[in-house]
Amino acid sequence: MKIVMAVIKPFKLDEVREALTSLGIEGLTVTEVKGYGRQKGHTEIYRGAEYAVAFLPKLKIEVAVSSAMADKAVEAIAAAAKTGQIGDGKIFVFSIEHVVRSRTGETNADAL
């Protein structure tokens, strides 16, 4: 099994979720994060004090999928998250060894 972890622009959440559910993926976990990258931040001025805010609000999505699904999930996310503008974000994939559903104790594929 894999976890597909994607950083996306916040307003793309619903599109990404729909793309995933249309693949039959039924769960995901979202975290509010701040991203630093090529997309430049903004400047805020408070009276005399000027602050360069380098970190932009992003969402991080983590979705556990079977190894077979991983590529499709990546593609779906990439397509849904894309605006073509800098800062669309990145998708990372890594292996997980074990999954458990707390409610039932089911493991691995059954737990997804």
């Binding site: 805020e44 001025i45 408070y46 009276r47 005399g48 004090a49 602050y51 805010v53």
Partner: protein, 446 residues
């Protein structure tokens, strides 16, 4: 009515005659008192005005300042403002009122005749600017008490996010005793030195704003910069609260300015409309300046202009006209803008919330602008025998004396407090934030 107002102008200060007359009434009431009238319209109006000034402090000023600091220091600001208010209230009835308006003939202080409000009863009367018209002395005491509370609370903005709580309280006790009470006496008591000069300070430009502004400037040098100043992001944790606080300051300021007329008449109405238009002019000026210089008008800019306009119109509200007030407010905004965004940055002190830049500088603009815009030719109520230049000289004297007196007291007070309590928390405590370290709480949870 014009007569009455002119008289105020001649008197040259908002409460000057008042205090004189209180003493008089006190002395003579038992014997053959001159006939006085008390109008419930005045009494009711002045009580509400007093409540409005409390509203300026709590929650107004507390929120205005609190919104500007980082979340980890929010409660420390609210707490400092709250405790200053409570402590000065107690001091006021114990000795502050007496030191300010105790009836002594000294030009420097009011003496000790009214310690613990000795001799004041519900039957005691305080004079207004109209001969023979009085209000209950308790109303005058309460109204003036709120002025004594807000002034030191204004200073808080200079040393937020790093000062020890004990140091705040100790400093304030010394400062009101040796700076505020004497200066209030000097400016507003008929025997006061600046009153004698003929300075116009309708509602407290010198006593409240310049006074607090200078103390703040001293504080920012004595207490030193916040850790990370100029490097870390120290953006306001809630501009919403700051805007709400600024709005409340405006709302409450009508108690401050119109109330300083002591009667519910056209004089108060003039002060009221000026307090509207000067502020509006100042808001627009600051926003326009930001639009031109930065391309964007900010909410903090508008709020800063708002306060600058209120500060500037404070000494002038009773003697200028509503159009002159727009101009005065706008000028104050422009000068304060350059002060907080250019001058302060180049001098590199950390007057964190710009108490000097807005109250000090705005107060000075107001004090001098009062001399200008009070002239009938510029819409003011000052008639034929009024000379802008002559009045300007008097205003400058009042400003300089206030600055020097206040600076000396502030420096000495901080040195004493530093020696006894120390001024700053540790670096680690500063990093953690004063809320947890000094008050054992956090402002926000889920």
């Amino acid at each position: 009515m014009l007569t009455r107002i002119n008289k105020t102008l001649v008197a040259g200060g908002a409460m000057s005659l008042a205090s004189a007359a209180i003493a008089f009434a006190q002395d003579t009431v038992p014997a053959a008192a001159p006939a006085t009238t008390m109008d419930k319209g005045d009494t009711g109006f002045m009580m509400i005005a007093t409540v409005l000034v409390l509203f300026m402090i709590l929650p107004g000023l507390a929120l205005f300042y609190g919104g500007l600091v980082r979340a980890k220091n929010m409660l420390s600001v609210l707490m400092q403002v709250t405790m200053i208010t409570a402590v000065v209230m107690v001091i006021w009835v114990v000795y502050g009122y007496s030191f300010s308006f105790g009836g002594s003939t000294s030009p420097w202080w009011g003496g000790t005749a009214k310690l613990f409000l000795a001799g004041v009863t519900p039957a005691s009367e305080a004079a207004t600017f109209t001969v023979g018209v009085v209000i209950p002395e308790y109303v005058f005491i309460a109204f003036q008490m709120t002025f004594a509370c807000i002034t030191p609370a204004l200073i808080v903005g200079a040393f937020v996010e790093r000062i020890k709580f004990s140091a705040v309280i100790a400093f304030v006790v010394l400062w009101v005793t040796f700076a505020y009470f004497p200066i209030a006496h000097m400016v507003w008591d008929a025997n006061g030195y600046l009153f004698g000069l003929g300075a116009i300070d309708f509602a407290g430009g010198t006593v409240v704003h310049i006074n607090a502004g200078i103390a703040a400037l001293v504080a920012s040098y004595m207490v030193g910069k916040r850790e990370g100043y100029g490097r870390d992001i120290m953006a306001p944790h809630s501009m919403t609260f700051t805007m709400v606080g600024a709005s409340m300051l405006w709302v409450g300021w009508f108690g401050f300015n119109a109330g300083s007329n002591l009667e519910a008449n056209a004089g108060a109405a003039l002060a009221m409309i000026n307090t509207f238009t000067a502020t509006a002019g100042a808001i627009i000026a600051w926003a326009l300046l930001e639009s031109v210089l930065r391309g964007k008008a900010s909410m903090l800019g508008a709020a800063s202009g708002l306060v600058a306009g209120l500060v500037a119109v404070t000494p002038a509200a009773g003697t200028i006209g509503p159009i002159g007030a727009i101009v005065l407010g706008a000028i104050a905004s422009v000068v304060c803008y350059f002060f907080v965004s250019v001058v302060k940055n180049s001098l590199k002190y950390d007057d964190s919330l710009d108490v000097f830049g807005i109250h000090g500088v705005g107060g000075i603009i107001g004090a001098l602008g009062t001399a200008v815009f009070s002239a009938a030719s510029l819409g003011g109520v000052k008639g034929d025998d009024y000379s802008i230049m002559a009045q300007m000289m008097i205003q400058i004297q009042a400003v300089v004396i206030t600055i020097v007196w206040c600076a000396v007291v502030s420096i000495v007070a901080f040195l004493i407090v530093k020696a006894i309590f120390g001024l700053r928390v540790s670096k680690e405590a500063e990093a953690t934030g004063l809320d947890l370290v000094s008050h054992g709480e956090a402002a926000y949870h889920n």
